[in-house]
């Protein structure tokens, strides 16, 4: 009735190949973007920034990256935490070595450095597949975290072994450092995430994205019809690591402000991102966002309802949240093993035909 493509006739290939072919989708995306860019910055406060919006943006970015690698190219990786650490340390070294460099370029360059490291650790994927590759990338996770602890050069020989983000400005507004206003950090990260979400969408619907998916679905056939496996796999590792590196840089420089590798970038972070894309939906851009929102905001929401709304004791609520989240994950995976994005897709398919089922 209200969501349908009936009556929309495409008369040209450009119209059929645009990024959101359905008019209502375009409208929906515009409304969300306008709200996120023009309304949220005026109502955001410190609590919302620190506990909901910033983690959501950072982890969405990491989930996008991992989804490109696992969801689109089918290469299993458990090195996410390590690659985020590379992004964070690259950002730190760039910020301290080039104090005049704009923080935006610092974050992008940090992503670039991570992409190179990602290519290096992606090399085993040319020989090994599946779970064995996951184990190989696990080596990246442990090696990178160990390296950042071991060599003082990475944390500029600071006594605590921590890295701390110095204050950096864009247009005179602090983006990093303790004085940064919530709306500025939020807008900064939002811009990067939205920009690269569109880039990811474009990549996945063009030649390079199709060769990733071909490798994922049937690698031998893909090679025989002309997809170079080396190029496809390594670009997937590079692009994915770039996203994860940018996420790591934002996580450290903008969100945390200070970080210590074992704490901030441990193996549990790798699994966290993996769970996000499995629950959100493998091979789906919007799924990365849904997964991040689910894992990040649900605990906050439940806590607010139970502690703030119902006045239950905090410790009981904490345990209840664990149980509820675990239960919901199992529930959603049973109902829809392909993730929340698939649920959303099926809803849309049903809505297109509603109220006439055939």
């Amino acid at each position: 009735m209200f969501y349908r493509e009936a009556g929309e006739f495409k008369t040209s290939y450009p119209a059929d190949q645009q990024i959101f072919p359905i008019a209502l989708d375009r409208l929906g995306v515009k409304i969300v973007l306008v709200f996120a860019f023009l309304v949220v910055p005026f109502i955001i406060d410190d609590y919302w920034e620190k506990s909901v919006l910033m983690p959501f943006l950072v982890w969405s970015m990491a989930a996008l990256g991992l989804n490109i690698l696992i969801g689109y190219c089918g290469q299993l990786s458990l090195g996410t935490g390590g690659f985020m650490a590379v992004g964070a340390y690259a950002a730190y070294k760039l910020m301290t070595a080039f104090p005049d460099l704009n923080i935006f370029f610092v974050i992008i360059l940090a992503g670039g450095v991570t992409a190179l490291v990602g290519i290096l650790f992606g090399l085993p994927s040319l020989r090994i597949k599946g779970f064995y590759l996951a184990v190989a990338t696990l080596a990246a996770q442990f090696f990178l975290v160990w390296m950042f602890n071991k060599f003082p050069w990475f944390y500029n020989h600071s006594a605590s072994g921590q890295i701390t983000a110095p204050e950096r400005f864009i247009f005179g507004v602090a983006i990093t450092g303790p004085e940064a206003p919530p709306w500025a950090t939020y807008l900064f990260c939002l811009t990067i995430v939205v920009l690269f979400a569109f880039v990811a969408k474009n990549l996945t619907r063009s030649v390079i994205g199709r060769s990733w998916m071909a490798i994922r679905d049937m690698d031998i056939a893909a090679e025989i019809i002309g997809v170079p496996p080396l190029k496809a796999k390594l670009t997937a590792f590079a692009v994915s690591s770039f996203y994860i590196g940018v996420a790591g840089a934002m996580f450290f420089a903008v969100y945390l402000g200070a970080a210590e590798p074992t704490e901030a970038f441990g193996i549990e972070k790798s699994f966290l991102v993996l769970f996000m894309i499995i629950i959100g939906g493998l091979g789906s851009i919007v799924g990365s966002f849904i997964g991040a929102a689910f894992i990040i905001s649900l605990p906050v929401l439940l806590k607010n309802i139970m502690v703030g709304g119902l006045g239950w004791p905090t410790d009981i609520v904490q345990h209840l949240i664990f149980m509820l989240i675990g239960g919901l994950i199992v529930f959603f995976l049973i109902v829809e093993p392909h993730g929340l994005a698939q649920l959303w897709r099926i809803t849309k398919e049903k809505l297109r035909l509603w109220p006439f089922p055939h």
Binding site: P14, S206, R216, M218, I220, A222, I225, G226, P229
Partner: protein
């Protein structure tokens, strides 16, 4: 084109083939300057198992060449050698008059060889359209930066190749499943989409590995027409493996017969039909 018209066209193609073949018998064997691909003394073994032994034959431009033989004869191995998935221990492959060195399969695809597979090897998570567009990858190339912003060369290229893909979609009459993930399609349609993916490369040589396996008689007839039409309309040279002898004898120009990795027959269908060795290989010889 109306459907009946297409059918007529296919039938006339059939009889035309028949006619050509009758003439061809007279042709001297020395006319080989139009050879597209030839394999010379190919031997391939896996450990102690000899898959192919000293096989030589050629494929001429514009013909339909059938490779037949009982199960395990080495037919699929032969195709895998031709498109570079296996590297033979011995022998040479000549394509377009040039001796080929050990290239990777994707480089060989770029030279103009495409194929379909015995067990459907489509990209199941992708739509029909995306599968066909992937088949065209050998003809597409843009740098990742333009693809990322979907602008300029990348966008133009998508549109341009989409037009060619749509012609193939029309040709195979799969318009209605354009946006359906191929994993959801029935077997017969998947086979057709796979043919489409191989066609999308606009290759010079098309290798079809049992394109009619597991099909009923109507689907087989359809597939035969598509194969013949590809050969006639696009001028594509076709090498096909098929077990249905009726089909092979009807559509092939020349047939090569393999058995236990050895070549036991090579010639036009009528010769093959009367070749005693081939008949023995297929029917078995009584041991008394």
């Amino acid at each position: 084109m109306a459907t009946s018209e297409l059918y007529l066209c296919a039938y006339s193609t059939l009889s035309q083939k028949q006619h050509d073949r009758d003439n061809q018998v007279m042709m001297p064997d020395s006319v080989v300057d139009d050879v597209l691909l030839s394999v010379k003394n190919i031997s391939l073994s896996f450990g102690g198992v000899k898959a192919l032994e000293n096989i030589s034959f050629d494929i001429r431009k514009g013909e339909i060449r059938a490779i037949i033989g009982p199960n395990g004869a080495g037919k699929s191995s032969m195709l895998n050698v031709i498109n570079g998935f296996y590297h033979p221990q011995d022998g040479e492959v000549w394509f377009k008059g040039i001796r080929r060195n050990n290239l990777k399969p994707h480089q060989i695809a770029r030279q103009g060889i495409s194929r379909t597979f015995q067990n459907i090897a489509l990209f199941k998570g992708m739509t029909t359209l995306d599968n066909l567009m992937t088949g065209r990858i050998t003809r597409m190339n843009t740098n990742m930066f333009w693809q990322a912003i979907w602008y300029g060369r990348a966008e133009r290229q998508e549109i341009e190749h989409r037009e060619r893909i749509e012609q193939i979609i029309d040709f195979l009459k799969i318009q209605s499943i354009r946006k359906t993930p191929v994993g959801r399609l029935p077997y017969g349609l998947q086979k057709r989409v796979e043919l489409g993916r191989a066609l999308a490369a606009d290759a010079d040589l098309l290798l079809l590995d049992e394109p009619m396996a597991g099909m009923n008689i109507e689907e087989k007839e359809d597939m035969c027409r598509y194969v013949l039409d590809v050969n006639e309309q696009f001028g594509t040279t076709i090498a096909l493996i098929e077990h249905d002898m009726g089909v092979v004898m009807d559509i092939a120009d020349r047939v090569v017969v393999l058995d236990y990795g050895r070549k036991i027959g090579d010639g036009v269908p009528d010769e093959i039909r009367n070749n005693q060795t081939v008949i023995d290989a297929y029917l078995g010889v009584s041991h008394d």
